[in-house]
């Protein structure tokens, strides 16, 4: 599904990411952990063609992502607030994203209805602009918009931070459900080792731009990760 070959990103001669080879098969839930500056967001941005690799390439479904539009039809993503359009109301925003994915008004309504629990009655039905929502609610809006196009690949950067405990648990259930029902490929980065080991079947640890661990999740994974990060 996603294939990374010989990927390098350097800023002013300093290599911040160096991944010789990485494949993520379809339907895998892929967790990315690492301390600040390890290169998690850089990797995601490279996959989403938002920055230019210094070397190497990323392919999605056998096609290079660079300067290509094809992967956009099957990818949903939310990295940060710049993925929102903050001067729209939530309804306008979901309509906009829905239309881009050729959804009818009815499809969009149906989708938003399925999000009702996750939204906890706080997102829809007000004339509020997205920029006036709290960080946590903005995150919910972004995650929902990422899912609106029925993507085959979902990429989320730190989806659990800024969410309240109930929403974190709901999101976890929700993601597992998406994976089992639609066999969605998911790439999730997180600082919360608990959550990420619960949701993801595979955990990759990045340190200073290099892959230092690539684990299949089992009952010992959490302990192993905690041991690794305890300095």
């Amino acid at each position: 599904m996603i294939q990374v070959t010989d990927l390098q990103k350097a800023y002013n001669g300093v290599t911040v990411l160096n991944i010789p080879f990485l494949t993520i098969p379809q339907g895998e839930s892929f967790g990315l952990v690492g301390n600040n500056g390890a290169g998690k967001t850089t990797l995601f941005r490279l996959i989403l063609d938002l920055i230019e690799p210094t070397k190497g390439e990323v392919q999605i479904e056998g096609q290079k992502v660079m300067r290509n539009d094809a992967w956009k039809t099957i990818t949903g993503s939310f990295l940060d607030e710049s993925f929102l359009i903050d001067f729209l109301t939530t309804e306008e925003y979901f309509n906009f994203v829905g239309k881009l994915n050729h959804k009818s008004q009815g499809d969009i309504a149906l989708f938003l209805d399925s999000m009702k629990d996750f939204f906890n009655d706080e997102i829809l039905g007000s004339k509020k602009l997205i920029r006036d929502f709290s960080k946590g609610n903005q995150k919910k809006i972004g995650i929902a918009a990422a899912l609106l196009g029925d993507p085959k690949i979902l990429i989320l950067d730190e989806p659990f931070t800024a969410l309240d405990p109930s929403s974190q648990i709901r999101l976890k259930r929700f993601l597992s459900d998406l994976q089992t029902r639609f066999n969605m490929t998911m790439l999730i980065s997180s600082h919360d080792l608990n959550h990420v080991t619960e949701v993801c079947e595979r955990i990759v640890v990045l340190e200073k731009g290099n892959i230092v661990k690539d684990l299949k999740t089992d009952e010992d994974t959490l302990k192993e990760l905690e041991a690794y990060f305890a300095v």
Partner: protein
């Protein structure tokens, strides 16, 4: 002490914003402009007495100046109402510290008074006082004259910030201010009520009587107390801090755009962007000012034979919206650029949406300038040629140049004279677009004829329209090459 500290922190806030140094070129240009204006004002100050001597032989220059005082006050209020930004100290971080609230409010109110721009007109007033007032009266009158002007500035600054806080700076209050000002001018013109006479009497009293300045100070005091009263009524920042107030959403019905598919959606998005941000709205108003250029140029005999100049004016007017928005058409999207790049929007569609939006801008501006057709057939031909040239050629220059503005634009901030996110490049880019056609038309009409010049440019424009698909492909390729630079620049912020 604390007060000075607050001023120092505001200063560091400005100095430490990353834009300060990056924008050095813009700062230099603005400084030069300021120096130029200062020179002009000084010159005016030194020659004002001679000008006023010639106006009226019954009144001496100072009496004339005094008569204008209230007009200066009203005009100043109007300008401040339009341009002056409210001093919004970011209160919350200070509110939790043990600082007296009244000190913070005094800071909010009095800080604008130390802004040197307020005293720019003193460059006129002081030389005038020295040259003329001293001669007619005495040094002490001259000093009182200057002081009365300083008090007027204080009064204006305080009153305008009170009016703005109390009534907001929306379109309605703007219209009210303009209406009040206009009706006073009309009353004066028809000699119903003379503000000039009232002003002359009032300021004659203030300046000539030794205790007159007390009256001026009382006015300042009243304006200050009005502000204090406002803050006592509105204790919490959310009540008066414009920035924290959430805008009411104007949900205009743009559903007619749905017919145009994704391109329609993107254009609708851009229109919402323009109408929901202060900065873009004020640019919209500013581009209307372009539309009156014709009145200045078409009516003058001096320009009648200067075809190049006339064409440039026609081009600026029929392209006013495009000239104001064109080169930022991508930067406007800077805060949600990543969103547009990762969603299901082919790059070609994105560029096409921008293209059609600019074309629509050109058409709207053209329609708005049709009243000029009244000036004769020559203007009709000029405008038609300019329309074709704008829509066929200039549009692509703007689409291409837009990819070179890689600074994030902060749309939520302010209005007039906002240069945030603009670099010297932004100034340079417009020059060839404006002057090359002017030179071409000037040369062709000098050596052949104006008709020939207009036909040439119109046909070039027409060719641009016919081949727009291939030209858009060029823009797409350039955009694709610049995309990472744009994304990176927009992410960096200021």
């Amino acid at each position: 002490m604390l007060f000075l500290n607050l001023i120092k922190q505001e200063w560091s806030k400005n100095i430490r914003s990353q834009g300060f140094y990056k924008n050095l070129a813009v700062t230099i240009i603005l400084t030069l402009f300021t120096l130029y204006m200062a020179a002009v004002f000084l010159f005016l100050g030194f020659s004002l007495d001679k000008i006023l001597e010639k106006v009226d032989n019954k009144l001496n220059p100072m009496e004339l100046f005094n008569g204008a005082m209230l007009y200066i006050m009203l005009g100043g209020l109007v300008i401040r109402f339009l341009m002056q930004q409210l001093n919004t100290l970011n209160l919350p971080p200070y509110q939790v510290l043990p600082i007296k609230r009244s000190l913070l409010i005094n800071f909010l109110l009095l800080k604008p008074l130390i802004n040197p721009i307020n005293y720019f007109l003193l460059l006129v007033v002081v030389p005038f006082a020295v040259k003329s007032v001293v001669g007619y009266y005495s040094i002490s009158v001259a000093i009182r004259f200057v002081l009365s002007f300083v008090f007027l500035v204080w009064f204006n600054s305080l009153t305008s910030s009170f009016l703005k806080r109390k009534f907001g700076s929306g379109l309605l209050s703007f219209l009210v201010v303009i209406a009040v000002f206009a009706s006073i001018v009309v009353l004066e013109y028809f000699k119903v009520f003379s503000l000039f006479e009232a002003s002359r009497q009032l300021y004659g009293f203030i300046v000539l009587k030794s205790y007159g300045l007390v009256l001026a100070l009382i006015f300042v005091g009243i304006a200050y107390l009005l502000n204090r009263w406002f803050f006592s009524q509105n204790y919490y920042p959310e009540k008066f801090n414009i920035k924290l107030k959430s805008d009411t959403t104007a949900t205009a019905d743009l559903s007619f755009l749905n017919r145009f598919g994704v391109i329609g959606e993107l254009i609708g998005l851009e229109l919402k962007l323009i109408f929901r941000h202060k900065r873009t709205k004020s640019i919209l108003f500013a581009s209307l000012i372009f539309l009156v250029y014709g009145l200045m140029f078409y009516t003058k005999k001096d320009f009648a034979d200067n075809s190049g100049m006339l064409f440039m004016v026609a081009m600026l007017m029929t392209g006013s919206l495009m000239f104001m928005f064109g080169q930022w058409i991508i930067s406007w999207d800077s805060s949600h650029f990543d969103s547009l790049m990762t969603r299901n929007i082919p790059i070609r569609t994105y560029i096409k949406a921008n293209y059609y939006l600019l074309i629509a801008f050109v058409l709207i501006s053209f329609v708005l300038t049709t009243p000029y057709f009244y000036f004769g057939m020559k203007i009709v031909y000029l405008h038609l040629a300019a329309l074709l040239f704008n829509a066929g050629v200039n549009v692509f220059f703007f689409l291409l140049f837009a990819t070179f503005n890689t600074r994030k634009l902060d749309l939520s901030k302010s209005q007039t004279m906002n240069y945030q996110g603009m670099t010297y490049k932004s100034f340079l880019i417009v020059l060839p677009i404006m002057f090359v056609p002017m030179i071409v038309v000037g040369a062709l009409s000098a050596f052949v004829s104006l008709n020939f010049a207009l036909w040439t440019l119109a046909l070039v424009g027409l060719a641009g329209l016919v081949f727009h698909n291939s030209l858009i492909t060029v823009c797409v390729n350039v955009f694709n090459n610049r995309k990472y630079k744009l994304a990176e620049g927009f992410r960096e912020g200021e």
